[in-house]
């Protein structure tokens, strides 16, 4: 079954295809030898598995229940902090736009935070999607 994370991963690949220095990994952002893959492999976007929760939106007298599904997907991208590509803002924007691939949503939000540790700049993307 194709998950929301799969769709976002594919769409990120489409959105950044023209930025040839960057690519999307099909692997999860697991840690190898104490270091996350996205730190080891810079300019490669790693999309994590989705976290899903179901919330009861309506409950009726005849037990007709309507559930809302909240899905969170995180993605990671690391760069050399001392040598950032000039088009990084465009790449970040393109990655955030990947959330539009998920349709029929109540909430479809994306945010990014950046963090510098040693000489590594890491962007952490979070996509929050709510639908029925």
């Amino acid at each position: 079954m194709t998950t929301i994370a799969d769709n976002i991963r594919t769409q990120i690949g489409t959105n950044i295809a023209s930025y040839t220095q960057f690519k999307v990994s099909q692997e999860l952002p697991f840690t190898a030898s104490g270091e996350p893959l996205y730190v080891k492999n810079k300019k490669t976007v790693y999309v994590d598995d989705e976290i899903e929760s179901k919330i009861q939106l309506y409950r009726t007298l005849d037990q007709g229940e309507v559930y809302q599904t909240e899905t969170t997907v995180q993605a990671f991208l690391s760069l050399d902090a001392k040598n950032q590509p000039s088009n990084i803002d465009d790449v970040v924007s393109a990655i955030l736009s990947a959330r539009d691939v998920v349709t029929s949503t109540q909430v479809n939000e994306g945010e990014v935070v950046s963090e510098i540790e040693d000489d590594v700049l890491t962007y952490t993307f979070e996509f929050n999607i709510t639908n029925l």
């Binding site: 009726t60 007298l61 005849d62 309507v66």
Partner: protein, 161 residues
Amino acid sequence: MAVINVTSGSQAILTLSNVDLAGAEPGATNGLVIPLLQDVSVSTQPGTVRYSTLDSTSSSAFTTVMENEISFNMLLDEATFFGLDSPGGVNSVTDNGLWSTSNSKSEIYFSIAFEGADSGDYFLKGQGFIGGLAPSASIDQAVWISPGTIIVNGDLTKDTV
């Protein structure tokens, strides 16, 4: 003595029919059971007239007529609200749906089951007009929701299945 627990999903049932009171009783074969009710309320209020007399420091009152009303909120079910694509020809409320029945001001019979549709279960019944439909949708609520009322014409009477 015990509370009437409605959490089983088969206790509080609103049934409608245009045929007769028997056709709208809980469990009636051709009654339209309103699905996806979020809540249902029975309101019964005697009309009163107050008057004062010179020999009392408090007003007195006498009753006039009862005003009865059923109100509810529901998630919209397509067939219930708009009617059947292939009308069965038995119960026009089922065939035409709540919207058209309200719009045509057709009188309907109804019952509200309090305890379900098993033998001996109590319910209230009466006749009246559907009104107060106000379907609304928003991206936050995600589905169509509407309140509704039945303006009762006459008495609300209790009965058992």
